[in-house]
Symmetry: C2
Subunit: 410 residues, 2 copies
Amino acid sequence: MVQLDKEVLENVAWISGIGADPTGGTTRLLYDETWLEAQNGVKAKLEEIGMATKFDRIGNLFGRIEGSRYPNETIMSGSHIDTVVNGGKLDGQFGVVAAYLAMKMLQEEHGQPLRSLEVISMAEEEGSRFPFAFWGSKNLFNEAKKEDVMDIADFNGVKFVDAMRQAGFDFKKEDEAIREDIKAFVEIHIEQGNVLEMEQKSVGVVTSIVGQKRYTIVLKGEANHAGTTPMKYRKDAVYAFSKICSQSIDKARVIGEPLVLTFGKVEPKPNTVNVVPGEVLFTMDCRHTDQAALNDFTAEVEADMKQIAAEMGMKIEIDLWMNEPPVPMDTEIIDVLKKASDKAGVNYRTMHSGAGHDSQIIAPHIPTAMIFVPSIGGISHNPAEDTELPDLVEGVKTLAAALYELAYTE
Amino acid sequence: MVQLDKEVLENVAWISGIGADPTGGTTRLLYDETWLEAQNGVKAKLEEIGMATKFDRIGNLFGRIEGSRYPNETIMSGSHIDTVVNGGKLDGQFGVVAAYLAMKMLQEEHGQPLRSLEVISMAEEEGSRFPFAFWGSKNLFNEAKKEDVMDIADFNGVKFVDAMRQAGFDFKKEDEAIREDIKAFVEIHIEQGNVLEMEQKSVGVVTSIVGQKRYTIVLKGEANHAGTTPMKYRKDAVYAFSKICSQSIDKARVIGEPLVLTFGKVEPKPNTVNVVPGEVLFTMDCRHTDQAALNDFTAEVEADMKQIAAEMGMKIEIDLWMNEPPVPMDTEIIDVLKKASDKAGVNYRTMHSGAGHDSQIIAPHIPTAMIFVPSIGGISHNPAEDTELPDLVEGVKTLAAALYELAYTE
C-alpha cells in the first residue's frame, strides 16, 4: 500500500500545517482564521472525491456520498478539526483525514456504497479557545445551549458569539430536527496513552470511554515549628496526604485496569522547609469504565480519607466538581471493528479510552465505536505528539474495512 | 511577687514597643534606628541599677557588676536584641529583660555578688536583615569573619558594612583576645514550641540543642495523561513521594522524642489535576539531640527513598544543604538550673531545644545552659507570640535563683 503511506503522510502534513506555530506544533482554535482555512480545505478535498459537502449552521462540515440502495441510512466517520494551544499534528485532525482517505479508497476500489457514507469534520472538541468543550458534537443533538456560550469569551476577550458570526456561522435554529438517518459512527483517534505502544499493537478497538470524577480536597491540620514541635503533638497535613495518596494508589494498583487514580496537584501551606505543613490542597482524578465500580471505589477512598483525617484530628473538605458517567461503545460496531481488523490483517487489541472524545457525546444517540492508533511515548497535546506511519496506515485500513462492512454489504 | 509581675510586664511592653510595626508585631533589625534605640535604652536601664556598661566593637552590649571576691570570674546572662521581620514581643528580647530584672532583684536582695555578674544584649541572632545569623554570639569567639559579611546587603540594597558603620560600629580588631573570665552563661528564651504548654509546665531546663539536617530532594518519574495511562505503566512521582513521606514519618513517630522529621515543601510538576506528576521536589528537615542517632536515622531514610525510587524506576537526587551538629548544654549548669527551679518552687521539666539559639554558639566555649518559658499555642516569629505573665515571672525567678547559686555562693 505504498500509495496509502504517501497519502497519509501528505494529508497529515497538509492539515497540521494549517495553524502551524513557531514551536513546531499546531494551534488551530474554533472559528479563527486557520480553523476556517482548515475546514474549507477539507471541504475542497471532499468535493475532489465527488462528495456533496455542507456546513451545518454552527460550522460542522459534512461530505456525503449517496448510497445506491439505502440512501437514507448513513454511515459516518470523522473527528474534530480544532486543536489545543500548541498541540500536535494528529489529535482530532487525523480522524478527519483518515475518514476522507478511507472513503476515497473505498470508492476507488468498490464504487458507490449501498448505504450513504459521510465524513464529518467537527467544529470543536477541545475547549481550548473558549471554556466550552464538545461544541461540535453536542450541536448534533441539540445538547449545546445558547446560554452556555452567550457570555463566554476567549483569552483576548473576544466573545464566542462574535467569533462565530465573524467566521460566518450562527446558532442552530431552535426547531431544527435531529438527524435520524445516521446508523453508525466510527471515530479514529490517537490513543494519547502508552498501552498500544507498550503492547506493540497497531490498533485499539475501543469498547468504552471511561467515566471520570475529579475532586479538590483540603486537609486542615496545624502549622508548627519543624524543630520545636514533637511528632506526637503535630497535625501534619502533608503526612496525612501522604497516607491517603499512598494507600489509595496501592488499592487502585491492586484493582488495576480500567481503574486509574491520580493525585495530580499538591499544594501545602506554608510550603516551607522548616514549618510543619498546616494545610494541604490536593486534587484527585479517578476514572473507570463501569459506573458502579467507579462509585464504589471513590466512596471507599472518600471514607478512607475521612477516617485518616479524623484519626489525625484534622478537618477535611471534599469537593467533587466533575462527575462524568462512563459511555459504552456499541457492541455491534465493536464486532464490526474487530472483524475489520482481522480482515485487514491488523495487530489489534480491545481497550477502553481513558480520555474523553466526541464519540462519548455521539454514542448515546447513534451506534458508535472508536479505533485507536498508538501514541509514541504516550505523548499528546504537545508538538511531540506522533504515531509511526505504518500504524497510521493500519488505522486507516481498519477504518476502511469497517466502513466497507457497514456501507457496502447487506 | 507583685512587683516582679509589674516589672516584667512593663519592661516587655517597653522593649517590644521599640520597633513596633503596624501589624501589632515588632520589627527591629540589626543596626537600624530601632535597634540602636533599644540597645541604648537597655544600656540606660543597666546603668540605672549600677552596672558599668560597654559595647564591643560590633555592637554587643554588656552591663557588669563587679564581684567582691572573684571579680575575674564572670557569670553572664542575656540573649539577642534583634527580631525577625514582623516578629513578636519576646523572642530574644525577653532574655535581655529577664537577665536585667534577675540581676536587679539579686542586687536589691543580696547586694554585691561574689563573682561578677554581666548582662549581655547581643547584636544579632536571627539573620533577618542580612543573610548571616548569630553575628552577635559568633563575634564573641572570633567565629564571624569579615569576608562572611563584606559583600552582603539587606533587602533595600544597604550593605552590611555600611549599616554597621552608620550605627557607629565596626569589625573587631584582628588581635582582640577572646574573654576567658566568663565562667557560666545562662540564656532564658521562649520555647517556640508547645511542649511546656501541653504538659502544663512553667519552665523548661534545656539539656541540649538539636542538630539539624536539611535536604532538598528531586524525584523524577514520568508525566503522563491521567486518563490514558494504566496504573502499571506509570512512574508517578507524587505516589513515590507519598510512600517516602508516610513511611519515614511512621518510623520517626515510633522513635519519638527528641527526633523530629518534617516534609515541609512539596512541589509536583506539572501540578495539574489530569496529569500524572512526572516530577516532585520536596524538602526534608530532620533534627535530633544526638549526632549518631541523627546520622543513623537520616541514613536509613536516604536508603529507603533510594530504594523506593529504584523500585518505581525513578531517578532521585538528594541534596543535603544544611548539617548542623547537636550542641549539648553543660551538665553542671543544668544541675544548677534544676536546683534553682526547685528552690524557686517552679513547675519545670528538662527538655531539648528544637530550634537554634545563641547558646549553641556559646556552649562550646563556656559552660552554658538555657531556661525555656512556654509559648502560647507554640506560636513564635509572629505578632501573636506570647507567654502567660506568671510563666514569664517564674522564668525570671528561676534565672535569679540560678544566678544566685552561680555568683553569690562559694
